[in-house]
């Protein structure tokens, strides 16, 4: 094939639209032809510049979607009390309501005079959301007002004042409030967002993160009002008639009709019939709020809060009577918990935390998915014999091979007997990593020499 024939495919190749076979052929040609390589680079440069130049326009498109979604909500709010479903066969009440009262101003401007200043004023008149659905593990229901139908909240959707948010038996979620605070909801939980700072817990479990610079949150439940004092993280468990407050970090104040009480970090109290009392069934705050870890994992395995939580749980392993419970919580995270555990193992490679490191490696070996193979190979050089043992065990579980050295020998043998199998693992990975598309291609290089 001639150069000009290859060059006719550059555009589709730059956009990853070229079939795999043709792409491979083109790439092989590029490796040999400097002129074509320069032409391809010029095309990639203009593509990169266009992407950068259009970044603000993409944001504008996202903001446009927010505005339209809000207008649709506004229209729903204006819908008169709906008839029972059986009498509503077409189900198109809310689009029709778009020309109704609440959306009327917005639409009148948008439909008839979109290019005049009125449209901008109409946009400003649209109610601002007070929260956003940041992450959810399943369908989360939102009801904008009592008489309106419930709908399933899509990811990143804005949530208006006075909405009721409800999780089912399999869904947890995180809401980012307008002023930066965050609320996490466990399964089977219902809250009402009176405003970005005023929240009522009807049932279930809520975890609140209050930032120092944000408006002070007020959480109402069971006849009490919980107010964090500055930066705080706390959980509210509403199992009527009692409501349990667990403060993880910072301070919170509980106010009922007849008394007020400050609750410090790691402490638990109950609110029962207007009284605030010590909780006779107090548990460790970390275990009490274990469900939160699963919600944080939804935000990404490298989320700093997840890393911090995993480190806290690991610190309790071996140091507390209930070690197994902490380990169980770490296992419950499954593969989502593996990146923080691997980060912990890398950060503590030269420290004497033998037991915690062995526990971390044991959990990784048991729960990691195949995309962690490169990191497990790196752990074969760890100074901690138990870590090496578990890494070899994990690799055998995931690949069905041991490169001629069983896990026990990785634990007890000298580096001399392990060096050959380690090189075999590296060679095998170089030849096979393409079969594991989600895995790291390169084996992480340890900071220190092999054991």
């Amino acid at each position: 094939m001639r150069c000009d024939e290859f060059q006719s495919g550059f555009n589709a190749w730059t956009d990853r639209e070229l079939p795999e076979e043709q792409a491979a052929e083109l790439e092989a040609h590029l490796a040999e032809c400097a002129a074509c390589q320069a032409a391809a680079e010029a095309l990639q440069a203009i593509d990169g510049e266009l992407r950068t130049a259009f970044a603000p326009r993409r944001r504008a498109a996202a903001q446009l979607a927010d505005r339209v979604v809000l207008a649709v909500h506004e229209a729903s709010t204006a819908t008169p009390s709906p008839s029972p479903p059986a009498q509503q066969p077409t189900g198109l009440a809310w689009p029709e309501a778009l020309s109704g009262v609440a959306a009327g101003f917005l639409l009148a401007a948008a439909v008839f005079r979109p290019w005049r200043d009125d449209a901008a004023k109409a946009n400003a008149a649209v109610r601002q959301p007070i929260a956003r659905m940041a992450a959810a593990s399943g369908p989360v229901e939102v009801q904008m007002a009592r008489h309106l139908p419930v709908f399933t909240c899509p990811p990143a959707a804005p949530i208006a004042r006075d909405s009721i948010v409800r999780t089912g038996p399999t869904a947890r979620c995180e809401l980012t409030m307008k002023d930066g605070n965050a609320l996490r909801l466990d399964c089977n939980t219902e809250v009402k967002l009176h405003g970005s700072e005023a929240v009522e817990v009807h049932r279930g479990r809520l975890f609140a993160i209050s930032l120092p610079e944000s408006k002070r949150l007020k959480i109402q439940s069971g006849g009490g009002t919980i107010t964090p004092q500055g930066a705080a993280r706390f959980a509210v468990d509403c199992q009527r008639p009692a409501v349990r407050l667990t403060v993880v970090d910072g301070m919170a104040c509980v106010q009922t009709s007849n008394r007020s009480r400050q609750v410090g970090p790691g402490k638990q109290v109950r609110i029962v019939e207007g009284r605030v009392e010590d909780d006779p069934e107090a548990r460790d705050a970390l275990l009490e709020t274990a469900w939160v870890t699963g919600v944080i994992a939804l935000r990404g395995a490298d989320h700093p809060e997840l890393v911090e939580r995993v480190n806290r749980l690991l610190a309790k392993v071996g140091a507390a009577k209930l070690s197994l419970l902490y380990e169980e919580e770490l296992r419950r995270l499954g593969d989502d918990g593996v990146p923080p555990l691997l980060a912990y193992l890398a950060a503590t490679r030269d420290t004497p935390q033998v037991q915690q490191r062995a526990t971390a490696a044991r959990i990784v070996a048991d729960v990691a998915e195949a995309r962690r193979i490169a990191e497990l190979i790196a752990l074969l050089t760890d100074a901690n014999a138990d870590v090496r043992f578990h890494a070899a065990r994990g690799l055998e579980r995931l690949t069905g091979r041991n490169q001629g050295l069983d896990a026990k020998t990785w634990q007890s043998g000298p580096w001399l007997s392990c060096e050959g199998p380690y090189e075999k693992w590296r060679t095998w990975w170089a030849a096979n990593h393409d079969r594991y598309p989600a895995a790291k291609r390169e084996i992480p290089t340890p900071n220190s020499a092999p054991f």
Partner: protein, 185 residues
């Protein structure tokens, strides 16, 4: 991910959230269509908003839910052309409207004057060149870079083949490269 057809059926059945998902899926493409027609970023946003809301009101008339994308882009195109006609009726020519409006072409809501000032000259020049491309090329560039879409997505929205999208993108990028290098000489 739910298909367009599924979401349209749910929305036609009264599920607001389904139309909201469609809005999020198509807002960039609708905005790109309007922007390509009217060549003013602010006006395009207002027209796109109108097109998305008009799409919702007319949703019950959509016969083939799988054709939602092209249908909605058609509405966006009509809304934009109506606006242009109304401007012409007011004897304001499109050229006059666009002259000296490069800032409007590149502006986006929420950007402060300082941010505007800090914007790289090269990007301004590039966007200004996009604005002067012939419409089929301008449209395909806008549609492609406003959103994370494939040639098939763009082709479906514009009612052309994926090969045509490829050909127009190739030509548009070549024109842009030529014009920008001509300016640097």
């Amino acid at each position: 991910m739910a298909s367009d057809s599924d979401l349209v059926c749910l929305a036609q059945g009264g599920q607001t959230a389904a139309y909201e998902q469609l809005v999020r899926r198509y807002s960039a493409r609708v905005l790109a269509v309007c922007h390509a027609r009217v060549r003013s970023a602010h006006t395009a946003e207002e027209l796109a908003q109108e097109a998305l809301l008009r799409g919702l009101r007319a949703l019950s008339t959509l016969q083939d839910p799988a054709k939602f994308g092209p249908w909605l882009c058609g509405i966006a195109s009509r809304v934009s052309l109506d606006w242009i006609k109304s401007r012409q009726a007011q004897q304001v020519s499109l050229d006059a409207m666009c002259d000296g409006h490069v800032d409007d072409w590149v502006a986006h809501s929420g950007e402060s004057p300082d941010e505007m000032a800090a914007r790289c000259d090269d990007q301004q020049r590039l966007l200004a060149e996009v604005a002067t491309l012939p419409e089929p090329y301008r449209e395909v560039i806008l549609m492609y870079y406003y959103d994370d879409v494939t040639y098939r997505d763009v082709a479906a929205a514009l009612g052309v083949s994926a090969a045509t999208v490829n050909a127009r993108l190739t030509k548009a990028r070549a024109m842009l490269r030529e014009r920008l290098s001509g300016m640097q000489r």
